[in-house]
């Protein structure tokens, strides 16, 4: 396939069957390979939509500075687009995100400002908001509250999925900004009566929940509970185990959040089997495993890998 430029090749990712992990011919799993996007993650879609929306509104002009709280993939996508379009990119990210992400961001010319590990992405959002207030000429696209994030999945990921899997019964994706699941979820609900929209939510160790009180919690502005039919919490050991199963059983070298999505998809699949129902379950492979090699997720026993992952943001 030929494209005029790298960005023109965005989207149109393959949907591949998971024959070994599917419980039977009546209940099948399908994986949307989003690591095939230009910078290797699903975040290329919202990043391009958010930039183009800001350009249309005149908020972004040549030489503008983009500021974004991001634990990695959105920052990498934005940094690549910023480089091509002549913007400066500043990422605020928790200090406990993997070394590969920092290196990738620096390669694309982004500047990184670290936020404290305790509090995870909450802290990154807080620090970014403070910087935005101090530097009113910087443009914060703010993926957690930017409707263009949802729109990218409503207009591209959702229609691609339905075209490839007209009989889809369940959609499963990780819950971060909630952009993927809101956009795809809304589209599918409009098109497919009774479709189940299942969020797979990473459950971290205590350090990541290091808030001072419950009122400091954070729910992304984009999150709309009414789009979902269920929300499943996935522990680090379960996500790791499933990430390895993706590789062992299907040959897919994915990031840990994809193991999280697979775990939730298998919960749903088991229920369908127990109920004697057929199901066509699509899940999102958000990125490849490359950026997580230094976390030790893929080596040694599961217990060792889980211990190394404690306190890290793996998704």
């Amino acid at each position: 396939m030929r494209y005029d430029s790298l960005l023109d090749s965005l989207g149109g990712t393959p949907l591949v069957g998971l024959p070994s992990l599917s419980p039977g011919s009546g209940v099948r799993l399908w994986a949307k390979l989003e690591e095939r996007n230009p910078t290797g993650s699903v975040k290329d879609r919202p990043a391009l939509f958010m930039v183009e929306q800001a350009e249309k509104e005149g908020r972004l002009q040549p030489g503008s500075v983009i500021l974004e709280p991001t634990s990695g993939n959105t920052g990498i996508a934005l940094a690549m687009i910023a480089r091509l379009r002549g913007y400066r990119m500043i990422c605020v990210m928790p200090e406990n995100t993997s070394a590969e992400r920092r290196q990738l961001l620096e390669m694309y010319g982004a500047q990184i400002i670290s936020s404290p590990a305790a509090g995870g992405s909450n802290e990154a959002v807080r620090v970014a908001r403070q910087l935005a207030a101090e530097n009113p000429d910087w443009v914060m696209l703010y993926q957690y509250g930017n409707q263009a994030n949802i729109q990218s999945h409503y207009e591209t990921t959702g229609p691609e999925l339905l075209a490839d899997l007209p009989g889809i019964t369940h959609f499963v994706a990780g819950l971060g900004t909630s952009g993927t699941i809101m956009g795809v979820g809304r589209y599918l609900r409009e098109q497919v009566p009774g479709v189940q929209i299942v969020a797979a939510e990473p459950r971290y160790g205590d350090l990541v929940y290091g808030l001072r009180n419950m009122d400091e919690g954070f729910v992304p502005e984009l999150y709309d509970e009414s789009v979902l039919t269920s929300r499943i919490s996935v522990s680090s050991p379960d996500a790791l185990r499933r990430t390895r199963e993706l590789l062992d059983a299907e040959g897919i070298f994915a990031g840990i959040s994809s193991g999280c999505a697979l775990h939730a998809a298998l919960v749903v699949a088991d229920r369908a089997v127990a109920a004697g129902q057929t199901a066509e379950i699509a899940l999102v492979i958000a990125d490849g495993g490359w950026k997580y090699l230094s976390t030790g997720a893929y080596g040694g026993t599961l217990e060792e890998a889980a211990a190394r992952l404690e306190g890290q943001l793996w998704a």
């Binding site: 975040k43 709280p69 991001t70 634990s71 993939n73 959105t74 509090g119 995870g120 992405s121 909450n122 990154a124 959002v125 993926q143 957690y144 990780g174 819950l175 971060g176 900004t177 909630s178 939510e201 990473p202 459950r203 971290y204 205590d206 990541v208 929940y209 290091g210 808030l211 001072r212 009180n213 419950m214 009122d215 400091e216 919690g217 954070f218 729910v219 992304p220 509970e225 979902l228 039919t229 269920s230 929300r231 499943i232 919490s233 996935v234 522990s235 959040s257 919960v267 958000a286 990125d287 943001l313 793996w314 998704a315």
Partner: protein
């Protein structure tokens, strides 16, 4: 047998530092009320007039109770209930 309830760090001042406590009840509301009889003040941190507080997530066997029936979700012996604060997710 009873229901195991996992408590986040931030609320362990109500449980004498315990990571998990046990309780009983037919529904989540009854379970929280039972816990409050031994860990006074805990219930008020989790629930207000409108149900579960905005930044509180409660999972029954790993599934968010907001999609099961909220405070009226049935619970039974052997279940695990996990309480967590809502934080900004990863992969972002």
């Amino acid at each position: 047998m009873a229901v195991e309830v996992r408590i986040p760090t931030i609320l362990r001042s109500y449980t004498g530092g315990a990571k998990s406590v046990e309780g009983s009840g037919g529904t989540l509301a009854e379970l929280l009320s039972d816990l409050d009889s031994r860990h006074g003040g805990l219930q008020e941190r989790l629930v207000d007039d409108g149900g579960l507080r905005r930044f509180v997530n409660v999972y029954l066997n790993d599934e968010d109770v907001r999609f099961l029936g909220g405070l009226t979700t049935p619970v039974k012996d052997g279940d695990t209930v996990t309480v967590l604060p809502a934080v900004a997710g990863g992969r972002a």
